[in-house]
């Protein structure tokens, strides 16, 4: 009777002081491990997709490769492809996980754990950060022979990359919470996220767009992510960097508040 079954003492409630780092770590590891265990081969999908885009454009251009702002077109293109692939995966990681857990009912395990809203949020975002970087690294390596290569301004690239991943993983959480079924999530992805990401100037310079579209582009936060990341990689930007940074910071604050409130109320999670 005296032998404890568990090594931990459960007779007293466990006390967490400050941040519950243990839980945050567990939650983000769960996302990363889940991704690797479930997908494996498909982890290389984004790399292959980006490689196909690049090869196809390279073949279509032939020997008449134009330059944009002094940067050869392929070197202009590759940062856009890298960050697009990473952002898409950041969104998918949190959104898929939340919808999956809602449908399976295991989301209760997260909301039942002694975690504050902010800690749950941090756990998801850190997990998405890990997954996106794991997926993004092969994309960057595969595309580097086509141009770009090592970034011109590594610090700036990383700042914009991390900013983008956080933004998209928060967006993914919102989308995941709103979606009751896989169908509604993939509708959001195809009809809202993909157009926003692909028409963000990752494939082309916004300078060549006619007027209403040029202004519309500057209102798209995804454009500013691509713009900032590309500036860090190649030293060329379509719009001033400080504008991009401001727009992204404002978007981040708005999204953080929105996601925090949604999560705090348990919108479409708690009955």
């Amino acid at each position: 009777m005296s032998e404890p079954v568990f090594p931990l003492d459960f007779s007293k409630p466990r006390h967490f002081t400050g941040l519950n780092i243990l839980a945050i770590k567990a939650l983000s590891w769960r996302l990363i491990k889940g991704e690797i265990a479930v997908f494996k081969l498909v982890l290389l999908g984004p790399a292959l997709q980006s490689l196909l885009f690049t090869v196809v454009i390279w073949l279509a251009l032939g020997d008449q490769i134009p330059t944009i702002g002094g940067v050869p077109f392929l070197a202009f293109l590759t940062p856009g492809l890298v960050i697009t692939a990473i952002l898409q995966r950041a969104f998918e990681t949190t959104a898929f996980m939340i919808v999956h857990e809602k449908l399976e009912g295991t989301i209760a395990d997260i909301f039942g754990a002694p975690m504050r809203t902010g800690e749950i949020l941090t756990g998801y975002v850190l997990g998405a950060l890990g997954v996106s970087l794991i997926v993004g690294l092969p994309v960057w390596i595969i595309l580097s022979p086509f141009g770009g290569g090592f970034p011109a301004n590594p610090v700036l690239s990383i700042v914009f990359l991390v900013l983008g991943i956080i933004l998209l993983s928060l967006l993914g959480m919102l989308a995941g919470q709103r979606s009751r079924k896989w169908d509604s999530l993939s509708a959001k992805e195809v009809f809202i996220l993909a157009p926003a990401l692909f028409l963000s100037g990752s494939f082309f310079s916004v300078d060549q767009l006619a007027e209403p579209f040029h202004t519309m582009m500057l209102l798209n936060p995804a454009f500013h992510l691509v713009n900032g990341f590309r500036y860090g990689m190649t030293g060329y930007a379509d719009a001033p960097i400080w504008i991009s940074f401001t727009v992204l910071t404002i978007s981040l604050v708005v999204l953080l508040i929105a996601t925090w409130r949604f999560l705090d109320r348990g919108y479409r999670i708690k009955a």
Binding site: V55, V56, P66, F73, L77, S186, A187, V190, F203, L209
Partner: protein
């Protein structure tokens, strides 16, 4: 329910030898088996109907989504390349691109229709409901393939219509256009059927889509004239049925092609017959379908 099973089992195995009149009403009006002609049109028709309803029920995912994605491709590639590549083989780049993208969309969706249906029914076990009824392997292949073709053509038609708002869409030779639309959808529908029978889980299908179907669709001249390719690859393209379906469809739409469209006609017919035979043999032998 259990009474029905008990009596039918006894009757069929002939344990008691005799069937009393009181048992008979369980079987409905007739004791004679239903007779079918050479083709079980009822069964095949219903399987086809089930497969078509399956994708129409979620038309947002299966029709609208690919149309939007294809339009996005048209936009980004025209914007990315339109300045540097003004014309290919004498036609404007966007007009060169549009038929290729439509073929790609048709092919990918025909593939998705049969492969996903097959894998889902295998995983859920509902494949038994298709294997049990008196439908022959040939009728099964036909129903699945035609449903895949229906999805491909639906996506192709809607994409064509949507693109006509942005790019002047012309029909140069309707016969070639229709043949290549059907042949491309059929080829990928059969490939999807074969892939779906072979795959044990969704990952396998995702792998085929990512590593076979998409690369072939991308690298077979959707975005460029294959005369651009350096030598070994240029010759290899002529052994690639994906190239002929894109090239032939483009010939039907624009009147321009990299290869003689007649060759494409033969290559696609041959590829379709071979794949049909393979799918038929797989289902007939119950490869990965029956224990």
């Amino acid at each position: 329910m259990s009474g029905w099973i008990l009596i039918s089992a006894k009757t069929l195995s002939g344990i008691d030898g005799k069937v009393s009149m009181s048992d008979l009403h369980f079987f409905g009006s007739s004791m004679t088996p239903r007779r079918y002609g050479a083709v079980n049109w009822v069964g095949m028709g219903h399987l086809y109907e089930k497969e078509v309803k399956r994708f129409l029920k979620v038309a947002t995912q299966t029709v609208a989504a690919p149309v939007v994605t294809t339009l996005l491709f048209l936009a980004i590639f025209t914007l990315a390349l339109g300045r540097a590549v003004e014309t290919i083989n004498g036609i404007p780049f966007s007009q060169f691109l549009a038929p290729g993208l439509i073929t790609m969309a048709m092919a990918q969706n025909a593939f998705a229709n049969t492969s996903s249906s097959m894998v889902i029914s295998k995983i859920q076990g509902s494949i038994v409901d298709v294997l049990m009824p008196p439908i022959s392997a040939m009728e099964m292949v036909c129903a699945y393939a035609m449903a895949g073709v229906t999805r491909g053509l639906t996506v192709g038609l809607v994409t064509w219509f949507a693109m006509s708002f942005f790019v002047p869409m012309e029909v140069h030779h309707f016969g070639y256009l229709l043949f290549h639309a059907i042949a491309a959808s059929l080829m990928l529908a059969l490939l999807g059927l074969v892939g779906g029978i072979w795959a044990d889980k969704f990952d396998h299908i995702a792998a085929i889509t990512n590593f076979v179907v998409t690369p072939f669709a991308f690298l077979s001249g959707t975005f460029y004239s294959i005369s651009r390719l350096p030598e070994p690859f240029y010759s290899i393209a002529f052994a690639n049925p994906f190239f002929f379906m894109i090239d032939g469809f483009r010939y039907g739409a624009t009147g321009q092609s990299d290869a003689n469209p007649l060759i494409g006609l033969f290559v696609l017919t041959a590829a379709n017959i071979a794949l049909w035979y393979l799918a038929w043999q797989m289902i007939r032998r119950g490869y990965k379908l029956k224990a």
